[in-house]
Amino acid sequence: MGPAIPMLEYEFMRAAFLAGAIVAVVAGSVGYFLVLRNLAFAGHALSHVGFAGATGAVLVGVAPLWGLVLFTLAAGTAMGLMGDRLRGRDVAVGIILSLALGFGVLFLHFYTSHATQATSLLFGNVLGVSLGGVRDLAILALVSLLGLAAISRPLLFATIDPELAEARGVSLRLVSVLFMVVVALAVAEATQIVGILLIFALMVGPAAAALQLAGGFRAGIVLSVVFAVGQTWLGIVMAYVTDWPPSFWIAFLSFLTYAACAAAPRPLPGRR
């Protein structure tokens, strides 16, 4: 543990660990439902729409995070309204995703010092988060976690048993919209750590791995959060040690975790 103490002497490192943990908790728990609902690709698309918002915000002199939040919220609400019809529309979603990326490039073109800005938006920059940024992330995290807690029971019911849930009075559309709003906030947060292109590494990888292992709903969320926080922190440490980008390490660790869980043999009684 040689470098552990000196590492924390830097404020940007302390901010990185804090921001990483906050975002990973949100991404891990929201991601659990995202994977359960088979909507991983929708999360990916949301982040791309956010790119246009972030670059547009920079252009008009607002912090990119808020542009991101605005755009992902708008797109998330639209996706939520589409509900079940979203499934199997990969082509339409993909084309809108490209359009958003295209606009992002255009906005960057008008903004002069675009190279570093673009890189950190696309691939994340956890080491560039300020303490003020950590506070913003904490507020967003609180909102999305409270929202998720409030809807999680009907969300689970509607995911596993949609017809019966509707018959028992759950509004599938309301649940779907509220969930996509929560997803939009989580995506906006996660892009601060891994960027819009590596959103799967934080929102999908840990959750998908947890769903391979955990038998219970709570255990699943806890495990997903543990994986997400673990790979983020370890990624930051590895970045400090190797001087390679933290986003690489987070994506790499996400892959390792998922691969290990998917391949893990399950100690079970034989089939009857």
């Binding site: 509607a158 596993i160 017809e163 849930a165 219970g216």
Partner: protein, 276 residues
Amino acid sequence: MSDAAISLRGVTLMRGDRPVLTDVDAEIAPGEFIGILGPNGSGKTTLLHALLGLIPPASGTLRVFGAPPGRAASAIGYLPQKRSSLSDFAMRGRDFIGSAVRGERWGVPYLSAADRRNIAEVLDLVDGADLAERPLSDMSGGETQRLLLAKALLGKPKLLLLDEPLMSLDLRFQAGVVSLVENVRRRLGLTVLFTAHELNPLLGVMDRVFYLAYGRAALGAVDAVMTSEVLSRLYRTPIDVLRVGGRIVVVSSHGEMDIHAHHDHGHDHGPGHSHA
């Protein structure tokens, strides 16, 4: 009769702009086992959705235990045809069943000791106590079907709507599921509506058959409905009904096609079949 479990009077059901069932009258008594048969797209699932209150009738009156369908939802157990895509996950049987507990209320899901007891009880009813701790990803088709049946039994329903529970099960599992449903129905005094592609697995178990085709419907004893006369009227084309070694085969008089299609080696099942 207000004491019917289900009554339809002049009911027309639409899917979008398309009428699926037109002007149907039917009365089902509590405790009956009804097999719902008919070709693809004949409205079997639509009828179950209407009973759940998901599709209001375009015209006519539909009553479930004397009340409009939506209000009876808590008395209905439902096994959907569209299977959830969770079979890749390690979620345990107990948590899968538990997802419906108080599912209509906001908040975080949890299972109380009483919920766990209720879940254990419904699993016992389907001889599936061991499924509580097993992950979905490890269950066979037959086991998944028992788990779904247990889930439908949660909350002590009076009416079971089972949508194609035999789909994609091979013949020996089909007989198992049918006799399991019949046992549960007897023990709990349930009314059962059971949709199927094929009549034969339900012979000897169901009290009456509800045959749907091309917007029309016929409800009655098997021998009364499964006749050339009744089915020709429903299909609006000449139909022959053959009885072969205790099995019933429905064919179009024009061709040799079995209208209920696919039981590839159905006759292996043999004439001496017995459904408990």
